[in-house]
């Protein structure tokens, strides 16, 4: 039988949203997924208030020096197996902040990322697709 934790994860992924040095655009679009137009709760996707309850981390931003310890701590707290989905171009390659003295990302320098959703910001439909694609690879 397949790992039941994975089966549970796929059916109704609980998602924790982690923003580290982002412009907030991707973050607002993530929140929009909950609103009536996109309504991801019909897929069982729920935004949770603590990483300890999360199956997947939706991460945004380039991470900066002050926020890095917090990012690592959140990842530690998230029970494994978990998915990490990088939302936005910042999470792919630091975007325009590549030469900043303070940007230390992207996320895959510090933790395994399962999917990248490029875009500035990616459209909510793209984010849903990213989550679905990441889940289907499990």
């Amino acid at each position: 039988m397949k790992d039941p934790r994975i089966w549970g994860l796929k059916k109704s992924p609980w998602v924790y949203h982690l923003a580290a040095a982002s412009c907030n655009n991707c973050d607002i679009e993530v929140l929009e997924l909950l609103t009536p137009r996109y309504d991801v709760e019909r897929f069982g996707i729920v935004l949770v208030g603590s990483p300890r309850h999360a199956d997947a981390l939706l991460v945004t931003g380039v991470i900066n020096r002050k926020s890095l310890p917090r990012v690592l701590e959140v990842y530690e707290q998230t029970p494994k197996p978990c998915l990490v989905i990088g939302v936005g171009t910042c999470t792919c390659n630091n975007h325009i902040f590549l030469n900043s003295y303070n940007a230390v990302g992207p996320y895959d320098k510090y933790l395994p990322v399962n999917a990248y959703v490029p875009g500035c910001p990616p459209k909510p439909e793209a984010m849903i697709l990213g989550v679905v694609k990441a889940l289907s690879k499990l």
Binding site: N25, F97, C120
Partner: protein, 392 residues
Amino acid sequence: MSDRHVVPIGPYHPLQEEPEFFKLIVEGETVVDLEINLGYNHRGHEFISPELTYDQIPFLVERICGICSNSHPLACVLALEDICGVKPAPRGAYVRTIIHELERIHSHLLWVGLAGHFIGYNTVWMWAWRYREHILEVFEMITGNRNHYAANKVGGARRDILPEQIPQILAALGVAEKKTLLLTKAVLDDPVIRARLERVGVLTREQAVAYSVVGPTARASGVDIDVRRDDPHDAYADLKWNVPVLPEGDVFAKAKVRLLETLESISIIRQCLGRMPEGPIQVRVEEIPAGEGIGRTEAPRGEVFHYLRSDGSNRPLRHKIRAPSYMNIASNVVAVRGGSIADAALTLAAVDPCYCCTERLAAFEDGKLKLTGRDLLRLSWAKTERLRERMP
């Protein structure tokens, strides 16, 4: 002193998506002081800007903030136009004004939704954000993107608004107006909301002036300032609108000011669409001469200020960016004092903080959470329930 406890709020502010860390110093249920710890969003825009050319900088500053995405490039472009002594092409000025006001509408609806969520009126959240979608669709139609529109350029606008797009814009404005009137009436008439928001988080006029706050935060404390009227740019000198100013300084006044402003923005856009001049949307600007320029505009949160110093080359010597929340968030220190913990988080959110604007960087602070963001949200909802039960 011995009874003082520290209640940290953060990194997940219940009302906002951006991380920050507030330390509330409390005695029993009353907040006596506030420490604000920023730095979690700091990305270094002022450092990156001198490496880029003047054509590239508007794209950089657009990404200071995702919600007031248009205000920063507009102020930056106005600073460059100030150095050159150039005015934008008339039609371009109108296009820029329309996009600027559309941004105000979507940003205020966003705040109203989050405020509703926070005090426990989730229907308000869902409604405000659902009807905001019409504005975002208009943005996608006229600029190509729901956010980060890349609409501004030295000398005018980058894209025109076409005649066939106008019916959809007017339809979206009609929906926004109807729903804003509905929300305004709901807020003003609901005794529970009034009890929840009135006399909470008061910022007096003297405090507002001492902290040099801007935007709705200032206007809700009796300070009558509006950059569009005081230092007009683009089409604003030709247009008429009211600037709502209220004396109370509480969260209720801030909410009212934003709702009334949304209605004024709708009126401004209709005026623009009715009198848009024909002609090109850009004047060609070949070079930025040596000099200094200041560009400012009234973003949804208040005055966005850009200063640029050029040396005649195609990259700046210095680019100073000051977002409105930088001034407004600092005033939270006095606004929360004397209030209760259940009210504190609402007060902090009432200035409509945009932390990414404030620091252009993000940071998290992790502390021992006595009350998590979730706890504070529940405290707030519980207070609303208690008030509701007390109502006849």
